[in-house]
Assembly symmetry: none
Homo-oligomer: 468 residues x 2
């Protein structure tokens, strides 16, 4: 594919206005729309209104702030190109909490540009990326008087809280949101130095496990040796969930998991991933023997996990307290791969824990919500090839098809409720500290993103089959 394109007029229009667009990004980022903390409720409402207003000014004829039972979603439609395909763009206006505040070089809600990077909470995840398609739709309308295809948008306000109201909202607005393809403006490129496209992400299942012995904490001198110690028993039980290499050994855990897409294994081999560098980057001792790049990335992307997120029981303060704890607990999250059903996995873990609970103890397993299945895009979906073409044109190399260890619940949601495939098309990068202090967005990628979305809409308009 050549470096020229049929959207030069649109790209030029956007280029001329890119300084103004950056100012708009800054205004958006000044709104503290933290979804996990009720203290920021005002910021949430303000951000939803900002998005709705910007969509209206871009030209969307239908824009609505939709109540969901939680934070509102902004839904917009611009569907006046008969016979053309319809895409639904997904994004979110809420952001992660800014803590720890003292680690920010400039305040999280006072955007600052340094070295070509715009620093602000939420700029990379997802305020920068979600503004791009809005600006591009506006550019098409102003330069050509019409969009090349039909565009719908849903911009939610609860992504950083696990999107608790997204499923019922999408189910309820099923007809209104119907599309031939969902394009996610959320998600991130894997690495700044390597073009990639995300084709799979792991699902999520969360459990709380509690083991109880005596009815109250006991004196470890008087009762030590004779009373049940839930920390001791729980440690033995937890030790039975993995083998010594960390592989999950729960019977039935991964029986239905489907083997990974060979294209992703190819990407792993082509990635030049450095295992020792990885351990250094997370501040951990470099293990000896060192796992291979292939082993490490396979475990990070393609193998289901059972991770302990926290453990607790008895006394944890300074000094000593000679108690035998009445109970001990552990918080577990599993990342699931394609083919694993969250409910079946939960049942397998509970069954195994029950089987290994020693006599004299009481086990409780509590799930947090229904969990979410893994997402995997059909490797032969033509929309995927189109996005790869566009990225190659912009970035100069064919992107690698990569998986993502983390969970993007929306992939499975749209597949299930709208019957539409989804592609990720985001120009943020996974190193932009979007869950940490000093979140930033590379302005060069913002400009590339504007061009790329213009070309994507044009290509989809001509090449995407419509389901109508």
């Amino acid at each position: 594919m050549s470096g020229t394109s049929d959207t030069q007029d649109v790209e030029a229009w956007l280029d001329e206005r890119s300084d103004a667009a950056v100012e708009e990004l800054k205004a958006f980022c000044r709104i503290p729309s933290v979804s996990t903390d009720p203290a920021y409720k005002g910021g949430i409402r303000q951000a939803a209104a900002f998005v709705a207003d910007r969509l209206t000014r871009a030209g969307f004829p239908s824009v609505e702030i939709v109540e969901t039972g939680g934070h509102p979603a902004v839904v917009a439609e611009w569907c006046d190109v008969p016979g053309a395909p319809t895409i639904l763009v997904y994004g979110h206006y809420d952001v992660q909490p800014p803590d720890p505040l003292d680690k920010w070089t400039t305040p999280p809600f006072e955007p600052d540009i340094r070295d070509g990077r715009l620093y602000a909470r939420g700029i990379s995840d997802d305020k920068g990326p979600v503004m791009i398609p809005i600006l591009v739709a506006e550019a098409f309308s102003r330069t050509r008087g019409a969009l090349p295809l039909n565009i719908k948008m849903i911009v939610e306000g609860e992504e950083e809280s696990g999107s608790p109201h997204l499923v019922p909202t999408v189910a309820r607005l099923k007809d209104r949101l119907a599309a031939d393809l969902v394009v996610s403006a959320d998600g991130a490129m894997w690495r700044a130095d390597l073009p990639s496209v995300t084709v799979a992400s792991r699902g999520l299942l969360a459990l709380d496990v509690t083991l109880t012995g005596a009815g109250k904490d006991l004196h470890s001198g008087r009762h030590g040796g004779s009373a049940p110690n839930p920390v001791r028993a729980l440690a033995r039980m937890l030790a039975s969930l993995h083998d010594e290499t960390g592989r999950v050994t729960v019977p039935g855990f991964a029986d239905t998991a489907t083997p990974p897409d060979p294209a992703i294994l190819d990407a792993i081999r082509a990635s030049g991933f450095d295992p020792a560098g990885y351990f250094r980057s997370i501040g951990a001792p470099v293990p000896d023997p060192l796992p291979s790049a292939e082993d490490l990335l396979t475990r990070q992307w393609l193998v289901p996990t059972l991770e302990f997120n926290g453990i607790f029981g008895g006394y944890s303060g300074p000094g000593t307290k000679t108690v035998i704890p009445a109970s001990a607990g552990v918080k577990i999250t599993c990342r699931l791969v394609a083919g694993q059903e969250p409910e079946a996995v939960r049942a397998a873990i509970e069954r195994h824990l029950e089987a290994v609970t020693p006599t004299g103890y009481t086990l409780t397993v509590k799930g947090h919500g229904p969990g979410s299945a893994a997402f995997a895009l059909d490797p032969d979906d033509p929309a995927l090839a189109i996005t790869e073409d566009v990225l190659e044109g912009i970035l100069g190399a064919r992107p690698l098809r990569v998986a993502m260890g983390a969970t993007i619940p929306i992939g499975a949601v749209f597949q299930e409720h709208l019957g539409a495939p989804m592609v990720f098309f985001s120009f943020s990068t996974a190193d932009e500290d979007y869950h940490a202090p000093n979140e930033f967005f590379r302005l060069e990628n913002f400009r590339k993103g504007l061009k790329a979305w213009a070309r994507l809409l044009d290509r989809l308009a001509s090449d995407l089959r419509t389901g109508a």
Copy 2:
């Protein structure tokens, strides 16, 4: 021995003032003298001053708050009976931490009487028992104008922290503390329904173990499967410290332990201990199969233990947080039997933990003080027979000689540094939740304790040989 005694005058004086004495106990318990937590430093100083003041008001001519390098000890002497034996009374004014606060029916430092029980943190261990000899000395002085024998007292402030400064303090004050017998007001009767006297107690060793993986908490989606998880690794390591029956499997842990005194095994067989009743009494499910009484009591009194007092790492709040913890830790205390050296046991555990630490993690093992060896009283010591006589007179039956699962480090300390034997003479009972919420002291036992100490002092005055 008959129910009458030669100390009826003293006992009657105490009886008349027992309501006022209970008010004094309440005042003492309002002082939050938690020794393990620096936040309570003010309470520690206040409690030491309370004890010193009460000793002075009782009539002790010499009372001093002695600096130890840690929390101070209160040392008092009242030695004006030439030719009479001298006893040293031991007790402590510090208390266990009150957590978990929400489990207390009334606040831990607001004493409350319900059903003949005084509820407060520290009332049973050891504020109630240590007040008894002070009140009794005062009663002798007020009724007879003189004590029947010479009394010294040492009331320390670090018992619940493992008495880290007691050994140097006793060694330094060796001449001033010299006595024919040490009587401990700390310790507890085994059961409320069975007179007993403690002739052996287990030693103590406390360790904090920390295992670290990455330099900070990591996102469990992005890093799950590839990053070290210290909770997972620690659970496996802890599972290697015991076999499935709870017996310690650390190499070298109990190699030097000496076999138990046959008299104690006799007491176990004579005790009519009910295993199912034991598990019900602590609110635990009754295990199946049920251990025998002999097995259970042997493990509680005579077998060294390695108990986990607390475990912690990562997120333990409500809901879920998808992190991989940077570190996880466990608090361990061991109860040691005769023949085990605390330092050797510590080294054996550390060696074993190092051997089972997987690659890619950093282990830290930190001891809390030097630990304390087990204590065993000479079964033929005449002071033991005297205490048994007095208890039989008060309680109506000859007490069983029992061992104690818990630790009273001072037994070995006084034997070594003062060359004096020690007997336990406490009227708290081991079921009084003294390391748990809702600690209480039976006021009936408080009154029995006052009588018993009066008779004990009288008997020791006439029958104890002096070393002078």
